[in-house]
C-alpha cells in the first residue's frame, strides 16, 4: 500500500497530462478529470499515509485518522464536479458553433460574428420578438 497509492496517483496524473496535451476537446476534459483523481489520492496520502488509523467516529477506539485531508478532498471533488460540467457544456457549444472539436481547426475558422454579423450559436434562443435572429438576417441581406 505504501508504494501502490503513490504510484497510482502518479499514473493517474501522468495519463491525465498526456490527455490534456491532445488536441481534441473531449480528451482534454477527461484528462483533467484524471488529474484531479490523482491529486485527490495524493492529498489523501499526505494526510493519512499509514492507512492504519481508525475513522474518527465516536464509537470507535482511537488512534484516529486525521479527517481534515478528507474534508479538503471533498471540497476539491465538489468544485471539480462543477467545473467539469461547465467544461462539457462549453465544449458542446463550441462543437455546435464550429462543427469541430479539434483545437487547431477551431482557431483557423473565421469568426462568423465579425464576418457575417450572424451568431456563433445556431441554437441561440430569441428572447424578444424585435431582436430575433430573423431580424438580424434581414440586417445583413439588403432588402430587394
Amino acid at each position: 500500500m505504501e508504494l501502490l497509492l503513490p504510484l497510482l496517483a502518479a499514473l493517474l496524473v501522468g495519463a491525465g497530462v498526456f490527455m490534456v496535451l491532445s488536441r481534441a476537446l473531449i480528451r482534454v476534459i477527461l484528462g483533467l478529470s484524471l488529474i484531479s483523481y490523482g491529486i485527490n489520492i495524493a492529498i489523501l496520502l499526505a494526510g493519512a499515509g499509514t492507512g492504519l488509523a481508525a475513522p474518527p467516529l465516536l464509537d470507535v477506539e482511537g488512534p484516529y485518522v486525521d479527517p481534515l485531508p478528507q474534508a479538503l478532498i471533498l471540497t476539491a471533488i465538489v468544485i471539480g464536479f462543477g467545473t467539469t460540467a461547465l467544461l462539457l457544456v462549453l465544449s458542446l457549444r463550441a462543437y455546435q458553433a464550429t462543427g469541430t472539436d479539434h483545437v487547431q481547426e477551431m482557431t483557423e475558422k473565421p469568426d462568423p460574428v465579425e464576418v457575417l454579423g450572424s451568431y456563433a450559436d445556431p441554437e441561440r434562443p430569441s428572447i424578444s420578438p424585435e431582436f430575433g435572429p430573423e431580424e438580424k438576417l434581414s440586417d445583413t441581406k439588403e432588402p430587394s
Binding site: 490534456v20 476537446l25 482534454v28 483533467l32 488529474i35 484531479s36 491529486i39 495524493a42 492529498i43 496520502l45 499526505a46 494526510g47 499515509g49 474518527p56 484516529y64 486525521d66 479527517p67 481534515l68 485531508p69 479538503l72 478532498i73 471540497t75 476539491a76 468544485i79 462543477g82 467545473t83 461547465l86 467544461l87 462549453l90 465544449s91 457549444r93 463550441a94 458553433a97 464550429t98 477551431m106 482557431t107 475558422k109 469568426d111 462568423p112 460574428v113 465579425e114 454579423g117 450572424s118 451568431y119 456563433a120 450559436d121 441561440r124 430569441s126 428572447i127 424578444s128 431582436f131 435572429p133 438580424k136
Partner: protein, 527 residues
C-alpha cells in the same frame, strides 16, 4: 463591531437576489447599492487598519489554527478598497454599456443576453471571491476563494456565447483548472508536512523549523508550487500566455474588471506567500525577479505587435505585472512600498485604459487603425493622453513617481541582477511610450474619415471620466498615498503583528476540546 465578514457577505447575498430580480432597472439599482455598501465597509476597514491594528475575525469562534480566520492588515485594507472602488465603477459601466448598442460588427442581441442571463449577479460573485482571497488567513480557504472567483470569471468570460468567447474561454478554463489542481495538492502537502493550513501558523512553524534545522528542500518545493500557481494567475511571463487572448473576448466591463483586479489577486497571494509564509526562499524570489523583468519587456513588445485595442492593453497588463513583481521581489523588501504604490496606480490606469478602449470600440470597432478621431472626440483623446502618460510613466502622473521609486529601490540594493532589472524597467518605459504613441497615431491622429458621430451613452462616458478623475486625484494625493503604501509595506516586512493578532487566542484557555493536530508538526517529521 467587526466588519470583516461583510465584504464577502454583501456580494454573496446581493448576487443571489440579483438572479431572482426580473427587471433590468431593479437589478442595476440593487447592484449599485451593494457595491456602494461594499465600498463603505471597505473604507471603514481601511480606516481601522491604518491605526496599526490588525483586524481578525475567527469564523464560528474557533480559535486560530483550527478554524478559518479572516485577517485584515494594511495590504488587505488597500486591496479591499481598490476592489470595492473598481467594482462600483464596473457595475455602473456595465449597467450602461450592456443596454446600449453593441460595438461595431457585433450582433445586437449579445449584450441583451448578457444582461438578462446574470451579468450583474456574476459580477457580484466575482467580487465576493476577490474580497475573500484578500481577507482569508487560511491557505485552503484561499483555494476556495480562488475557485469562487474563477468560476464567476468563467461565467463572465463566456456569457454572450460568441465564437471567440467559446474558443478562448475553453483555454482559460483549462489553464486555470490545472493551476487549481497544483494549488490544491500544494495545500494538501503543506498540511501533511507542517500540520496546519492557517497562514500565520505556517509562518511560525516554518520559521521554527528553519531556525533549528536549516533550509529544507521540501519546504522550498512547496513554496515553488505555490509560486507556480500564483504566478500563473498573475500572468507572469512564461505562464501568462493565456491572458492576451482571453481577456479581450468578454463584454467590455468584464474585460476591464479582469485586467484591473484578477491578475492582482495573484500578485497579492505572491506577496503573502513570500513575506509571511516562506520569507526565506531567496532562490525562488530571485527566479521570480528575473521573470518579472522578462514580463515587463515581453509585455511591452507584445503591445507593439498588436493592432486591436484590448489585445494591446492585455499586454500592457502583463508589463505592469512585471513592474509590480520587480518591486515585490527586490532584496530585503526594499521595493515593497514602491510596489504597493505602483499597485494602486496600475489598477486604476489599466481600468481607465480598458474603459477608453470600450468607448473607442463602440466608435470604430476592435482595431485602432481608423485614424482621425481627434477632431470628432477631443475629450476621448484628452483622456487617453492622460492615461497613456500614466501608463508610460511620464512626469506629472503617478506612473512617474511609482516607477522612479521602483527603479531607485532596485538600484539602492545594487548588485548585477538588480541593476539589470532596473535597466529593463527603464527600457520598458520607453517601449510603453512607443506603444502608447502607436495607439495615438493609429486612432486619434490623421485625417478624419468619420461621416457621422457615434452617440456614446452618458453612463459609459461618466464612468470613464470618474476613473480618470481618480487617476488624477492619485497624482495630487501622492504624499498621503505613499505614506499609506509605506505603512502597509512596513507591516508586511515585519510580519510579527499579523502572526500575533491571528494566533493570540491560542495561548488562552479554550472552551471545548477541538481535535488537535499539534504533534503532527514539523518537529515530528524530521526525527
Amino acid at each position: 463591531m467587526n466588519l470583516l465578514a461583510l465584504p464577502i457577505l454583501i456580494p454573496l447575498f446581493s448576487g443571489a437576489v440579483l438572479l431572482l430580480l426580473p427587471s433590468r432597472i431593479w437589478r442595476f439599482v440593487l447592484a449599485c447599492l451593494a457595491a456602494l455598501l461594499c465600498l463603505g465597509v471597505s473604507l471603514s476597514i481601511l480606516n481601522t487598519v491604518l491605526s496599526g491594528k490588525v483586524m481578525v475575525l475567527q469564523m464560528s469562534n474557533w480559535p486560530a489554527p483550527w478554524g478559518i480566520s479572516l485577517v485584515a492588515d494594511g495590504l488587505t485594507g488597500i486591496m479591499l478598497a481598490l476592489s470595492a472602488l473598481v467594482g462600483l465603477l464596473t457595475v455602473i459601466f456595465a449597467g450602461s454599456s450592456l443596454q446600449h448598442e453593441p460595438r461595431r460588427g457585433q450582433s445586437k442581441l449579445v449584450n441583451e443576453l448578457r444582461e438578462r442571463f446574470g451579468f450583474q449577479a456574476l459580477l457580484q460573485f466575482l467580487l465576493m471571491g476577490v474580497n475573500m482571497s484578500f481577507l482569508t488567513g487560511d491557505l485552503f480557504n484561499l483555494f476556495v476563494a480562488f475557485e469562487v472567483m474563477l468560476i464567476s470569471s468563467y461565467g463572465l468570460l463566456l456569457i454572450g456565447n460568441e465564437l471567440p468567447q467559446l474558443r478562448e474561454g475553453f483555454k482559460y478554463v483549462v489553464v486555470n483548472l490545472i493551476a487549481s489542481a497544483i494549488f490544491v495538492v500544494a495545500a494538501g502537502m503543506i498540511y501533511g508536512l507542517i500540520g496546519t493550513l492557517n497562514m500565520a501558523d505556517i509562518a511560525v512553524k516554518v520559521a521554527q523549523h528553519t531556525a533549528s534545522y536549516g533550509p529544507d528542500a521540501r519546504l522550498s518545493l512547496l513554496a515553488m508550487m505555490l509560486a507556480l500557481v500564483f504566478a500563473t494567475k498573475a500572468a507572469v511571463f512564461p505562464l501568462g500566455f493565456w491572458l492576451p487572448s482571453s481577456y479581450p473576448v468578454p463584454a467590455a466591463a468584464a474585460s476591464a474588471f479582469f485586467a484591473a483586479l484578477l491578475t492582482k489577486v495573484g500578485v497579492y497571494s505572491l506577496i503573502r506567500t513570500f513575506t509571511l509564509m516562506f520569507p526565506e526562499e531567496d532562490l525562488i524570489k530571485t527566479l521570480l525577479l528575473v521573470l518579472a523583468a522578462l514580463s515587463m519587456v515581453v509585455g511591452a513588445l507584445g503591445m507593439i505587435s498588436q493592432s486591436r485595442w484590448r489585445h494591446t492593453l492585455a499586454f500592457a497588463n502583463i508589463s505592469s505585472i512585471g513592474y509590480l513583481l520587480m518591486g515585490v521581489f527586490t532584496r530585503q523588501n526594499m521595493g515593497l512600498s514602491a510596489a504597493l504604490y505602483y499597485l494602486i496606480h496600475t489598477v486604476l490606469v489599466i481600468f481607465t485604459l480598458f474603459l477608453i478602449a470600450a468607448l473607442a470600440e463602440k466608435i470604430a470597432g476592435l482595431k485602432y487603425t481608423s485614424e482621425g478621431h481627434l477632431n470628432t472626440y477631443p475629450w476621448l483623446a484628452a483622456s487617453y493622453f492622460i492615461a497613456a502618460l500614466a501608463l508610460a510613466g511620464l512626469p506629472p502622473t503617478t506612473g512617474f513617481i511609482a516607477k522612479y521609486a521602483l527603479i531607485s529601490a532596485s538600484l539602492k540594493v545594487g548588485g548585477l541582477l538588480n541593476n539589470w532589472v532596473a535597466a529593463a524597467a527603464v527600457v520598458t518605459g520607453l517601449l510603453l511610450l512607443y506603444a502608447s504613441v502607436e495607439i495615438w497615431r493609429g486612432f486619434f491622429w490623421g485625417e478624419s474619415h468619420a461621416v457621422h458621430q457615434v452617440s456614446l451613452p452618458a453612463g459609459m462616458k461618466g464612468t470613464m471620466a470618474a476613473s480618470l478623475g481618480l487617476l488624477v486625484l492619485l497624482a495630487i494625493a501622492s504624499g498621503p498615498l505613499y505614506r499609506l503604501a509605506n505603512f502597509a509595506a512596513d507591516q508586511l516586512s515585519r510580519n510579527t503583528a499579523y502572526i500575533a493578532a491571528v494566533l493570540v487566542e491560542t495561548q488562552a484557555p479554550r472552551l471545548g476540546d477541538p481535535p488537535l493536530p499539534t504533534d503532527h508538526g514539523v518537529e515530528e517529521e524530521t526525527h
